[in-house]
């Protein structure tokens, strides 16, 4: 059953056609790896997929329903990770994650948050303002959301591995493989070579001047 299906999607940004009539389908339990040079429109495509931005023409549907019609249901099952981390710098990591969970109707106890942050080896850094953390640590705090939203069906990750150390990359890859084997669908882009041992189909976006 197709989690996400895209039919002749085209996006124009600052009067430049990024790509046109793009068609693909992401089945349950499969990983779509979007490749392309800088400026090929990977991020814009992911943002259109997530429903943040309107596409110029074409349709994105989630479980055979156009995401414009079922926005609430779609966002219930989606976790998005973009260039902007989505955590406030004056709040602490725990407060940020508690706020995020309340937003996404995820019921969670403080202990689980502390335990997950410990797994992401952020011990001792849970309750200081996020501004005092390094870029890699901040990214790991933002990535903690993939451990929380259990009912998600689709993950969209935009270059999640940048600024992560090898231990962080291995941890995230393990979590993605676990999610995929449970029947989740993942769409992601990355500049490092993908070290996820899981059958992946690839989509390359040409750079169009």
């Amino acid at each position: 059953m197709a989690v996400i299906s895209v039919t002749n999607l085209s996006v124009v940004k600052r009067d430049r056609l990024l790509f046109e009539n793009l068609n693909f389908v992401v089945e349950q339990g499969c990983l779509l790896y979007v490749k392309g040079q800088n400026g090929a429109g990977k991020t814009s495509m992911l943002r259109v997929l997530a429903g943040l931005v309107e596409a110029d023409c074409g349709e994105v549907s989630f479980l055979q329903q156009n995401i414009k019609d079922c926005r609430e249901n779609y966002h219930q099952h989606l976790v998005y990770f973009g260039h902007k981390l989505g955590i406030n710098l004056t709040l602490s990591a725990v407060e940020n994650l508690q706020y995020w969970c309340k937003q996404h109707q995820v019921v969670i106890s403080v202990d689980t948050i502390f335990y997950t942050l410990a797994q992401l080896n952020l011990v001792g850094l849970e309750d200081i303002p996020v501004a005092n953390l390094s870029a890699g640590q901040q990214r790991r705090v933002a990535l903690a959301r993939f451990w929380f939203k259990q009912n998600a069906k689709l993950w969209i990750l935009d270059e999640p591995f940048t600024a992560l150390d090898t231990q962080g990359i291995e941890l995230l890859s393990k979590q993605i493989t676990a999610f995929l084997s449970d029947g989740g669908a993942v769409v992601m882009t990355s500049h490092q070579a993908l070290r996820i041992d899981y059958p992946t189909d690839e989509l390359t976006l040409e750079y169009q001047i």
Partner: protein, 119 residues
């Protein structure tokens, strides 16, 4: 004493409101200033203690992952020795952290968190 009795002193020749308002506001503002300085000194000192507790927590976690790795490579019998020595070597003062490094990883982090909270 210039005034005959207390209420004429309080009345201040009809200007009691203004005199006592100004003296009251002066005393109040000085008190607020003093309390703010006094309590911010105390919070600074407790901040230092929290920082120490946090370092201890990080060190304990680092110790733990070190012992976990060694036990993975050195095999079963080594583990028993390892966790015993780790228990002894922890500083006496920080009894909570010593207890932590001996117990298994899962319960340790939960206990770790309550330790963070109590300080």
């Amino acid at each position: 004493m210039y005034f005959e009795d207390i209420n004429s002193f309080l009345d201040m020749g009809g200007y009691g409101l203004y005199v006592w308002l100004s003296f009251g506001s002066a005393v109040l503002s000085l008190l607020v200033l003093w309390l703010d300085s006094f309590f911010s000194k105390r919070t600074l000192l407790t901040q230092v203690l929290n920082e120490q507790a946090r370092q201890a927590r990080i060190k304990a976690a680092a110790e733990q992952s070190a012992t976990a790795e060694q036990s993975a490579t050195a095999g079963k019998s080594a583990i028993a020795e390892q966790s015993a020595t780790a228990g002894k070597s922890a500083t006496a003062g920080k009894s909570a952290t010593a207890g932590k490094s001996a117990t298994a990883e899962k319960t340790a982090t939960a206990e770790q968190r309550t330790n963070g909270e109590t300080i």
